[in-house]
Structures are given as structure tokens and as C-alpha cells.
């Protein structure tokens, strides 16, 4: 290693220190707590506790809701990105910026805003009452949670897909047309496959926070619909059972790792990553 590259490598030191203190050590602590009981003896009980019907149900609900949210985000984001990337005007970057502005607002604030829009005496039901229409049960439903997740995580779907689509050379699309493909064939055989890294990246970036969220379900699910995130949070903050909380976290970690591995396998060049 040359002297210069040694010096360059040193520039990473502050981050390495940060990563060790705030990422690696906490991760090991979760593993330690998850695999031990209160006396510090090794046990798999905390991990196996996922089989408890309440826990399994929460994990299943998390899985279903975050998959549904991811699907909705994908269906909303892809056509939009297609339009943005294909029209190729300079105003587009402004439009994309416009779409990600909500991301700069506090996450909690955004979710509270949805709470006050959806609740029984909220904006929608007040408006419906003014029009003498029956009130709708919107908050504390699965639909409410999905809405919250979609609103909060949609930008994470839009950006990688937009990046992947905008990078496709126009001449490649022209070449497909030139070789006889109509618009649909060009989309299915060229545009869609070339944008897959962005799609996979977007799915990861929506699915993982959806899988782990507890704030959205707490505020928009009203504590009635428990996600695995809520169960883990309660183990830490209400039951003070760090071992149980960590054990369940390890189970959740498995899902995240599977997702990341899938992404890495499909996106070897790291193209779709933000």
C-alpha cells in the first residue's frame, strides 16, 4: 500500500469509530441479550418466542402490511417515473424535488398529520358530517397504516426507479423501435429489465422500514393493530424485558438480511442504490 492511499484510508477513521460505537457494538448487544436469559445464561427461548401466537400474528401482519405498502408504492412510483424519465425535460428534476420535499419534514410530524386527517373527529369526517354523509372508520384500520407507510416511504421508491430509468440511453430505446418493437414490446423487453436494479432497490428501501415500523402503526393503528415493531417496542419500554425484545429483533433481522441479499444478488453493479 502506498503512502498516499494509507493517508486516504485514514480519512475514514471518524466513520469507522462511529460505526463501531453506534452500529457494531449495539448489534452485538442485541445478539447477546437475544440469546441469553435474565441471569446471563445462553437460551434460545427469546428467539423461539416468535412462535407465540400473538407474536407470530404481529410478524405476519407486519409482513402483509409492508408487502402491500411496497406494492402500492411500486404501482404509484413506476408509471410516474416512466413519464418523468421519458419526457426528459429540465423541469423534471424540479418535479422530482417536489415529490421528495415531504421527506424533509419530520417523520413523526407527517404521521401525526395523517392521524388528525383520519381520526373520528378529524378533517375527513368533519367534512363528511358537514355534507350530512355518514362518518367513515378510517383510523385504526390496516388501510390507515398502509396509507401512512405509502405516504412516508413513497420517495424511497421513486428515487431509485427514476435514477435507473433516467440512465437508460435514449438510443437503446430507439434501437428497440428500429428493430421493429412497438411501445409495449420495447417496455417489456428493454425498459423494464434495464430498470430492475432500481425497482429492487426501491422495494428494499420501502419493505424494510415498513417491516420494522412501530410509529406508523402506533399512531394510525391506535394500538389495536400490533406490528412486530410494536411488540418489540413494548418489550423494551413497557415490559422492560430486553432479552425478549432482542430475541424478537433477531427474527426480524433475518427478514432484513434476506431482503438485502436478494438486492445484492440482483444488482451487482450497485446501480440502483441511492
Amino acid at each position: 500500500m502506498s503512502k498516499t492511499s494509507k493517508h486516504t484510508a485514514m480519512l475514514g477513521l471518524p466513520y469507522y469509530a462511529w460505526a463501531i460505537v453506534f452500529i457494531i457494538v449495539p448489534l452485538f448487544m442485541v445478539v447477546y441479550y437475544g440469546l441469553t436469559d435474565k441471569t446471563g445464561a445462553f437460551t434460545l427461548d427469546n428467539v423461539m418466542a416468535i412462535a407465540h401466537p400473538a407474536h407470530a400474528k404481529a410478524l405476519w401482519t407486519s409482513l402483509v402490511l409492508s408487502l402491500e405498502s411496497t406494492a402500492v408504492c411500486l404501482l404509484l412510483a413506476y408509471p410516474l417515473c416512466l413519464v418523468l424519465a421519458r419526457s426528459g425535460k429540465s423541469s423534471n428534476s424540479f418535479l422530482v424535488l417536489f415529490l421528495i420535499v415531504p421527506m424533509w419534514m419530520n417523520f413523526l410530524l407527517r404521521t401525526y398529520a395523517w392521524q388528525s386527517i383520519l381520526e373520528k373527529t378529524g378533517i375527513i369526517n368533519t367534512a363528511l358530517a358537514a355534507l350530512h354523509l355518514p362518518p367513515q372508520h378510517l383510523i385504526n384500520t390496516k388501510g390507515g397504516i398502509i396509507l401512512g407507510m405509502v405516504y412516508d416511504f413513497l420517495p424511497f421508491m421513486i428515487l431509485p426507479i427514476y435514477n435507473a430509468l433516467a440512465k437508460i440511453d435514449r438510443n437503446v430505446i430507439h434501437a428497440a423501435h428500429d428493430l421493429g418493437a412497438d411501445d409495449l414490446q420495447t417496455f417489456l423487453r428493454v425498459i423494464l429489465p434495464l430498470s430492475m436494479p432500481g425497482v429492487i432497490s426501491g422495494i428494499t428501501m420501502v419493505f424494510i422500514p415498513g417491516m420494522t415500523t412501530f410509529v406508523i402503526s402506533a399512531l394510525l393503528g391506535g394500538g389495536k393493530i400490533l406490528l412486530i415493531g410494536n411488540v418489540i417496542e413494548q418489550e423494551f419500554t413497557l415490559a422492560y424485558d430486553w432479552n425478549m425484545g432482542s430475541g424478537l429483533s433477531l427474527v426480524l433481522l433475518v427478514f432484513i438480511v434476506i431482503n438485502i441479499v436478494i438486492q445484492m444478488l440482483t444488482d451487482k453493479d450497485g446501480e440502483g442504490v441511492l
Binding site: D169, H174, H177, Q185, R189
Partner: protein, 357 residues
């Protein structure tokens, strides 16, 4: 005369305020290698894209085999394009790239496999079926792009500066390859380039363009030996391009010195432009020269020396296999038929439009 294949009629095209093509007329015949040659921004690529269907003209029409195809989308045209940056499908193998057009056309599997093998053989890349395009060199990618286009048996192959990104040696090899391909396939090639050497080497017909106008059409020999205006003379090859006065038929004065020439019909005492190719300037002993000058620069170019000679303050460029020393006094003479006389454009518009239109 061969049959007319493509006719461009009064094509005009603007992008925003910028006029790219102005009332362009061009006829391309079957089995011709036609090169659109000109500096960047001259409208040559736009012309090609209009033929391919990727741009639509503001005015005028494109006729293909007697049929108006102006509004036909690219996927319905019987021609294929080779793009400047190759535009290969990076998510497919070489074989899949070549098969793309055939699969869209729902050709039988055996036919497709035969075609892939045939096309790879034609471009000298046998055995590359399973490779990914991104693992190939620029020259190889270009061959795949050509193979992908020709398996569809187009009547016309459009090539947009296909050798622009290759290095010199490879470019020269590919020029021979393209000539061979054109002869084997027996189809029309329309080739866009800004490289005059490429155009002279490969073309049956060269169309020199500038500022959206056709300056001159002709065989490479005609374009090189008989440029019709100063732009063509200057753009093609090295040249001595001087203002001169036509004294009378067959006599022209350059800076007051009389030279015999072979041109007639320019009138008496008419200002003209003349072109003398550097290889046509003969260096002789001072006493035998039509004019005399002093050598100011000598550069060795491999096949010959290139010398700059100062004649009464005007610089003449000349090429000779014999070097003369700097500051040596030499005589210059030019064979009458090597002086190409051209009418002076009367206005800038006329200059842009080309004087013989």
C-alpha cells in the same frame, strides 16, 4: 442508372429557433454507399434520423420505394440503424441482442439460430454468442451492433458515425470491413461522418453538407478533384485556397502572377476563388518557376514532406518527397489542370446554400 430507393423532398427541420435543415432534396439509389459528410451541426445526423424515423421533418416528405413514409414510425420502416454509441442491450447476451429483431418478427427458432451464426461469421465474431456486450471491446461492440441490424435483412443500413469512438488503426480496419459487408450484402448504406478520409475511402457517393444545405454531391474523385465551392475545397483534404482574378478564359492571376488554367466561362477580370491541392504544387529551381518563394517550414509526414512556402506574403502549402531547407529560395509551378477555379459567393446566404444550387 440504378433504381431510386429513397427520395427526400424539400425537407426542413428546426429545433427551437435553430434551422437545422432548409429545403433539402436528396435521392439515394439502390446498392449505393452514400456518405453524408460535414462538420458538426451541419444537419447530417438529423437527415439520417429523419430517414430512420426518429425525427419527423417540419416540412417535406420521405419517399421509400415510391411510398411516402414520412409519418411511419421507425418500427414499421424497412431499414435499420447502427448507432454511434452502439446502443446494445446490456441486459442481454450477444446472441439475444442479434436475435432481438427476429424474435419481435416472430421468426422460427431454427431460422433465428442460423441467422445469428451467419451474422457473427459476417462480422468475424464467431463463438461470441453467450458473451455479454459489456465484456467486449468498442470495436467488437460495434460489430455486434452491425450484426444486430443486418440480420433483419433491411433494404438500407443507416450508420451514424459508427467508427467515431474507435482508435485510428481499428477505424481503418473497420472501413475495409464495412466496404466488404456492403458488397456481400448488396444493400444500400447511408453513412454519416465528419471524417473526410473515411468518406473518401468508403463511399460511392459523398454528400457534403454545411449549415443545413447540401454543398456538393458526387463521387469521391469529383468531390476531391473538382470541389464546387470554397467550403467543399477547404473541408475535403488539405488545400491552398486563394482569392484570384480570372483575367480571361484559361488565364488566372494569383496575387498578380499569371497562371495558365483550363477553366472557361467565368468572364473577363472576374474575382474568383481557386484551389490547388498541396500535392499538385511543384517545386522547381527558381528560374523555372511561375513564381518564386522562400521555404518557411518543413514537416516530415511519413510518405512525404509538407512545406510552407512564402510567396509575396501568401503562404503556399506543398507536399513533396524531396525536402528543401528552410530559407531556401524555390520556384513554384502548377499544371494548368490542377488549378480548380470556383465562382465567388456573392452573399453569405449564397455561401451557405452552395453556389451551384
Amino acid at each position: 442508372m440504378k433504381d431510386e430507393l429513397i427520395t427526400l423532398k424539400s425537407i426542413s427541420k428546426s429545433f427551437g429557433d435553430k434551422l437545422i435543415l432548409d429545403d433539402l432534396n436528396l435521392t439515394i439509389h439502390e446498392n449505393e454507399f452514400v456518405t453524408l459528410l460535414g462538420p458538426s451541426g451541419c444537419g447530417k445526423s438529423t437527415t439520417l434520423r429523419i430517414i430512420g424515423g426518429f425525427e419527423s421533418p417540419d416540412k417535406g416528405s420521405v419517399i421509400f420505394e415510391g411510398r411516402d413514409i414520412t409519418n411511419l414510425p421507425p418500427n414499421k420502416r424497412q431499414l435499420n440503424m447502427v448507432f454511434q454509441n452502439y446502443a446494445l442491450f446490456t441486459h442481454m447476451s450477444v446472441a439475444e441482442n442479434i436475435a432481438f429483431g427476429l424474435r419481435i418478427g416472430k421468426k422460427p427458432k431454427d431460422y433465428i439460430e442460423d441467422k445469428i451464426r451467419y451474422a457473427l461469421k459476417l462480422v468475424n465474431l464467431e463463438g461470441y454468442e453467450r458473451r455479454s456486450p459489456s465484456t467486449l471491446s468498442g470495436g467488437q461492440q460495434q460489430r455486434i451492433a452491425i450484426a444486430r441490424a443486418i440480420v433483419n435483412e433491411p433494404k438500407v443500413l443507416l450508420l451514424d458515425e459508427p467508427l467515431g469512438a474507435l482508435d485510428l488503426k481499428l477505424r481503418q480496419d473497420m472501413q475495409y470491413e464495412l466496404i466488404r459487408l456492403k458488397n456481400e450484402l448488396g444493400i444500400t448504406f447511408i453513412y454519416v461522418t465528419h471524417d473526410q478520409q473515411e468518406a473518401l475511402t468508403m463511399s460511392d457517393k459523398i454528400v457534403v453538407m454545411n449549415q443545413g444545405y447540401i454543398q456538393q454531391e458526387g463521387t469521391p474523385e469529383q468531390i476531391y478533384n473538382e470541389p464546387e465551392n470554397a467550403f467543399v475545397a477547404d473541408f475535403i483534404g488539405d488545400s491552398n485556397l486563394f482569392p484570384a482574378v480570372m483575367i480571361h478564359d484559361r488565364l488566372v492571376a494569383i496575387d498578380g502572377n499569371h497562371f495558365d488554367c483550363v477553366d472557361e466561362g467565368f468572364g473577363v477580370n472576374t474575382p474568383v476563388d481557386i484551389v490547388i491541392r498541396p500535392e499538385d504544387v511543384e517545386i522547381v529551381p527558381p528560374a523555372r518557376g511561375t513564381v518564386t518563394g522562400v521555404v518557411t517550414d518543413v514537416i516530415f509526414k511519413g510518405v512525404h514532406y509538407e512545406m510552407c512556402i512564402d510567396v509575396q506574403g501568401r503562404e503556399w502549402v506543398c507536399q513533396s518527397t524531396v525536402a528543401h531547407a528552410v530559407n531556401e529560395e524555390v520556384g513554384i509551378r502548377v499544371d494548368p489542370f490542377n488549378i480548380q477555379v470556383m465562382k465567388k459567393p456573392e452573399s453569405e446566404d449564397e455561401e451557405a446554400a452552395g453556389i451551384n444550387e
